[in-house]
Amino acid sequence: MDLKEVKRQIKELIDLMQGTQVSELEVERGGVRIKIRKDQMMSEGGHLVPQIPVPQDAQMKSSLLEGGPKAEQDDYTYIRSPIVGTFYRAPSPEAEPYVEVGEVVKKGQILCVVEAMKLMNEIESEVDGKIVEILVENARPVEYGESLFKIEPLKEPKS
């Protein structure tokens, strides 16, 4: 299959996926495998929270203040994006990523940049700890409050 034909196949597959609930499609033809995945964050139904009754009174008030059901309840520290933009793991395309999974980072250390309106915003770690997981792929859009890194905070020796 020549390049022109590959491009045509890709376009055909994209058109096929439009307006459907299909989020991922993989096809093998003529010795070429094409895989297309829809951006999950922005697709319909991506961020709908199940319709549960909102808890009353104090609980409601605190969840309103803290930002609702998205906050994870565990012992890890989540570094969240303070702005809307595009997440990059390295300061430039050719450079090495700021951090990798498993790396130990210090409070204030730069973990990534989020680019918004052509400005690069450096995101720092809020704690000393170990990077357990990087939650967003490079060059993906992120919204306010979206979790970027899962960090296991270093335990402070009790004195």
Partner: protein, 450 residues
């Protein structure tokens, strides 16, 4: 025509804009704060981006985050709705720098009409009747006293950067002037960042009549009749209707032409509203111009048959207006009641969770709302739950229909102002339309005395 629009607002107006976009085949991007995650406008948009926490200054008024949201979703245009950034002149400028089309007038129109004192001055210079008062901002205490003496008390001190019924202080006697002036200036500075004020004669029984205009990018401008918004509490509109029961064809044409003249004089584009005060003798005076779509726009839509939000979008995509002034006809009568989450006697806010919600329906009834069962009316944003709009062949039918609709409207879990609206619709003064902007205060104080 745009392929994708970002709606920089929340609640009922965001939903309203999404509906118009959908019907035009335009994809929609909703923005939301963390506490609005479950809102209807978020659910019904094609895409959604969280832009900040509950505090509006960090979310719904956060220009960088909002423009960034437009960038990552490839939205071509932004509709600001009303409130929030709708009349912030920096926003259209920022949109332009980002290559995104702002659906509304130019930054300079917004800035010009946003300075209420300057707008007054310009209108005066152009021979448009304005309420007797200061020439632009008041520059000294001496000047304030002098002007007030000339025009005679009572007078009203208004914040130059205010508008929408905020930043107003009535002064009844000369003895109170200096103290009121100082208070008004510091209040204005605190609320709007600008302590500038101007003074106008305060009319005791005026009617508030506003004219809706639309202008395309070539400057073709039309008026779409008037709205009577005299039923107000503390300068906030509660109930609006179109046409005004006291405006006849001759006055309608006069007001309409004047509104068009004003819009053209400032090179206005898109939807706007010119507000007039009508005194007892039906002499009219320019108050201010609102450079945005208004809350009460539905009553104009019901009597003209024109979808104002769609028109805004079409104008912004450089389409010419599809009709001339002579094509615009007023049919029947429309009334809107703003239903707020407030105690109907004391008007204290009543935030909470809606446990039961059954909106009225049937012929000639429209409800613009993003409320639903289990929805949280939060203290972070304004307390309006729903707009109940009716249309009838004439005013009598509209009144009967609104009464019927109010009876059917079930909202439980929070207090609402539905009982207040029922009282207004039964009042003989309202029915005969012998009202002015002091009508509601009198009705309420009669209530207390009984």
């Amino acid at each position: 025509m745009f392929k994708k629009i970002l709606i920089a607002n929340r609640g009922e107006i965001a939903l309203r804009i999404i509906r118009a976009c959908k019907e035009l085949g335009i994809k929609t991007v909703a923005i939301y704060s963390e506490v609005d995650r479950d809102s209807l406008h978020v659910r019904f948009a094609d895409e959604r981006v969280c832009v900040g926490p509950a505090d509006a200054s960090l979310s719904y008024r956060n220009i960088p985050n909002i423009l960034s949201a437009a960038e990552i979703t490839d939205a071509e245009a932004v509709h600001p709705g009303y409130g929030f950034l709708a009349e912030n002149a920096h926003f259209p400028e920022a949109c332009e720098s980002a290559g995104i089309k702002f659906i509304g007038p130019s930054a300079s129109s917004i800035a010009l009409m946003g300075d209420k004192a300057k707008a007054r001055e310009i209108m005066n210079q152009k021979g448009i009747p304005v309420i007797p008062g200061s020439q632009g901002k008041v520059n000294s205490e001496k000047e304030a006293l002098q002007i007030a003496k000339e025009i005679a008390y009572p007078v009203i001190i208004k914040a130059a950067a205010g508008g929408g019924g905020r930043g107003l202080r009535v002064v009844n006697r000369e003895e109170d002037m200096l103290k009121s002036l100082q208070t008004a200036q510091s209040e204005a500075k605190a609320a709007f960042g600008d302590g500038g004020v101007y003074i106008e004669k305060y009319f005791l029984e005026p009617r508030h009549i506003e004219v809706q205009i639309l202008a395309d990018e070539k400057g073709r401008t039309v008026y779409l009749g008037e709205r009577d918004c005299s039923i107000q509490r503390r300068h906030q509109k509660i109930l609006e209707e179109s046409p005004s029961p006291v405006v006849d064809e001759v006055l309608r044409r006069e007001l309409g032409r004047m509104a068009v003249e004003i819009a053209k004089a400032v090179g206005y584009v898109n939807a706007g509203t010119v507000e007039f005060l009508l005194d007892k003798n039906h002499a009219f005076y320019f108050i201010e111009m609102n450079t945005r779509i208004q809350v009460e726009h539905p009553v104009t839509e019901m009597v003209t048959g024109i979808d104002l939000i769609k028109e805004q979008i079409k104008i912004a995509s450089a389409r010419p207006l599809e009709y001339k002034q002579s094509d615009i006809r007023i049919h029947g009568h429309s009334i809107e009641c703003r239903i707020n989450a407030e105690c109907p006697q004391k008007f204290t806010p009543s935030p909470g969770v809606i446990t039961r919600y059954y909106p009225p329906g049937g012929y000639g009834v429209r409800v613009d709302s993003s409320a639903h069962v289990d929805c949280v009316i939060s203290p972070h944003y304004d307390s309006m739950i729903a707009k109940l709009i009716v249309h009838g062949d004439d005013r009598d039918e509209a009144i009967a229909r609104m009464r019927r609709a109010l009876d059917e409207f079930v909202i439980e879990g929070i207090k609402t102002t539905i009982p207040l609206h029922k009282r207004i619709l039964e009042d003989s003064g309202f029915i005969k339309s012998k009202v002015s902007t002091s009508f509601l205060e009198r009705l309420l104080s009669n209530q207390e005395n009984n």
